[in-house]
Symmetry: C2
Subunit: 188 residues, 2 copies
């Protein structure tokens, strides 16, 4: 059975290096990598969240190129993957989309590179995803991470990815790969 | 204790879409992402393997920009990470470098998206890495994967990353993230 684990790659509201709230720019690689990850773990959808119209047009062109136009024949696996992306203006639009599809509002889980008291352990998070009762929308922040306003609205915050060092500066696409493998990978 | 797990991002000899042996082009994102991953898991080094001189110059410029020049002050964490990259012409140069450093020749492990009889399970591979007796050099293929000639020379081939679907087309940087987390991540 397909897991009720949804992903949102959030470009607004996120922080810049000075901890100011901004809308970050899309990165082509992130869209491809996230699409291929949700396909690998057979997750229903990855939302690309940006309120900027020019960025939405850019993403639409990229997706259409691979899903409908010349890229489809050249790289059929990319077409298959990018079909799982969905553009939305805000996180609440992603929530509404999930509600409309399955009739339940998802739990919002934030991810952060910082250690926070009361965060959800990976073991607990995986158990919730495997149980499948509660749909979950995993929020991945671009730039310097999700804004405080958004962090204040979530139901839970995942533990940071503990490597073997104190270094915690992974790219969002690599962090997403590790998180989805921990939450939905077959191999444990 | 630092693990004796080394990584090589191989641009030659790899396959193109027609299964011909080629030297693939470097991807800036891969270099940054791999550097940040080996830093996160505190692995000694990631070798960037390419025999092409223009590609080596490109990589040298990129690394110098972040490690020594203006990027160092702007993004100190990138400088810290990119210091762990080392450019080499061939896989055997990476092997020689490790031998010179620790006095033992590493086991070569290949990675592939295909299922192969007798492959090393993730559990076994992690146990070997944790035990730390044998140094390991993990070969990651760019393009359409490592050439057969290279696959024939390795000591072992890792199981493919099993997601929940049959889809096996991850980017090399996302595959690397998942592999290193499975082999060297704290959380299990």
């Amino acid at each position: 059975m397909q897991k009720k684990l949804y992903v949102a790659l959030v470009h607004y509201p996120v922080l810049n290096r000075h901890s100011e709230v901004i809308a970050s720019a899309l990165t082509n690689f992130d869209l491809h990598d996230l699409a291929r990850l949700v396909c690998t773990y057979d997750l229903p959808r990855c939302f690309i969240v940006t309120p900027l119209q020019d960025q939405q047009r850019l993403a639409q062109r990229l997706i259409a190129h691979w899903v409908e136009r010349i890229g489809k024949d050249l790289h059929p696996h990319r077409s298959q993957a990018l079909q799982r992306l969905k553009l939305v203006h805000e996180v609440k639009d992603a929530v509404a989309d999930i509600e409309e599809e399955i009739g339940i509002s998802p739990q919002l889980w934030a991810t952060t590179a910082r250690s926070i008291n009361g965060s959800i352990t990976w073991r607990k998070a995986r158990a919730i995803v495997e149980e499948g009762e509660l749909p979950v929308l995993l929020l991945l922040g671009t730039g310097w991470g999700l804004s405080q306003e958004l962090m204040d609205r979530v139901h839970g915050i995942l533990e940071p990815i503990a490597g073997a060092s104190g270094y915690n500066h992974l790219s969002v696409r690599c962090a997403a790969a590790i998180m989805l493998d921990r939450l939905a990978g077959l191999e444990k």
